[in-house]
Amino acid sequence: MIALLGLVAGIVVGLIVEPSVPGALQPYLPIAVVAALDATFGALRAFLDGVFNERVFVISFVSNVIVAALIVYLGDQLGVGSQLSTGVVVVLGIRIFSNVAAIRRRLLHA
C-alpha cells in the first residue's frame, strides 16, 4: 500500500534531516501530531468498516490540525494556553482511544 510507504518515507526523512523546530512553533507541533493521529485512526476504522473516503480523510486531517492549533493559539493569547493545550490533547486522546476500540471490535469479531 502506497499509504503505508508514505508513512514510512515520512519517518525516514524526519530521521535523516533532523530539523530543529523554531521556538515559537515548539508548543504547537505535538498538538498537530496528535490531531493528525486522531484523523488517521478515524480513517483506519472507516477503512475496516468499508466506508473509507479519501476526501473525508483529507478534510478531517487538515481541519483537525488547524482547529487544534487555532484553539491552543487562542488560548495562548488569552493566557490559558497550557490549560487549553491539555484540554485539546485530552479530547483527542479520548477520540483516538474510542477509534482504536472500534478497530479492535471490528478485527476480533469479524
Binding site: P22, G23, A24, L25, G42, A43, R45, A46, D49, V51, F52, N53, E54, R55, V56, V58, I59, S60, V62, I66, V91, I94, R95, F97, S98, N99, A102
Partner: protein, 274 residues
Amino acid sequence: MRSTQHPLDISSPRHDEYDLLAILTAPDDEYEQASGSPRRSGGLDLGAALALLALLVTVAAAQTQAGAPEAERDRAVLVKRLEQEKAQVAALGERTGQVATEVEALRLRTVAAAESVQTVQARLDELGATAGSAAVRGAGVRVVVDDSADGKPEGEVLDTDLQQLVNGLWQAGAQAVAVNGQRLTTLSAIRTAGQAITVNYRSLSPPYVVSAIGDGDRLPAGLLETAAGQTFADLRNNFGVRFEVEARDELSLPAGSRLVLNVATERSQPGGQQ
C-alpha cells in the same frame, strides 16, 4: 421524535445527546454520512481543500517566520536567565548549608565552653576563700591586742608578737585571718617599718584587731594552748599588754589585694595540679 424531558435529567432515555462524555466517545460517523451522498466531483472539493490548506499554512508560516528571530531571542534569553537563576539558587543553598554547619559547630562549642566556665568558676570559688582572693563572712574569734597603758617598752606589741599570735591562730585551727582589715595571704608579711607594724606593706596602728574565721567554740581555748597564747597571756599578766579573745558569730574578712605572681609559674607533673 424528541421527548420533552429536561436535558440534564439523567434518567431520560435521550440524555446521552447532552452527555459530554458520550458525545466525545461516540465514534465519528463522518465517513458514514459522507458515503450516504457520494459526490464524484471530489476532485474539485479535494483540490479546494488542499489549496485552502496550503494558503493557511503559508500565511501562518510567513507570520511566524517574521516574528521568529525575535521570539527566538526572547526565548533564548528567558532560558538563559532561568539557568542562571537555577544556578544561583543552588549556590545559595550550598552556602547556606555550609553556614548552617558552622553555626551548629559554634553552638556546640558554646555548650562545651559554658561547662568549662562553670568548672573553672567553681574551683575559683573553692580556692578563693582560703587563698584570700574572696572576702569571707562567718563565725570565729576576735582577738584584740594593744600596747600596755603605761607606754613602757616591755608593754609594746612587736611585729614578732603579732607573727606569733597569727601563727598560734593558724595552729589552733583558724581558716582565714585578717589583721586590722588586712587579709593574710601566702604573700602577706607582718613586719616593722620604722615605728609601725606593717601588714601587706600597710602601716597599722594599735590596737590590733585580729579576726579569725573558724570554730568559735574551740579557737579561744585552742589559742591559749599554743605557745603564742601562752606568750600573750604572760605579756598581759606581767606587762599589762591588752589581750582579749572573744568568740564571734558574725565576722567579715575582706579580700586580699595584689594577689599577683611575677615569677612563679605552674610546673606540670603527675598529680601536680589540684
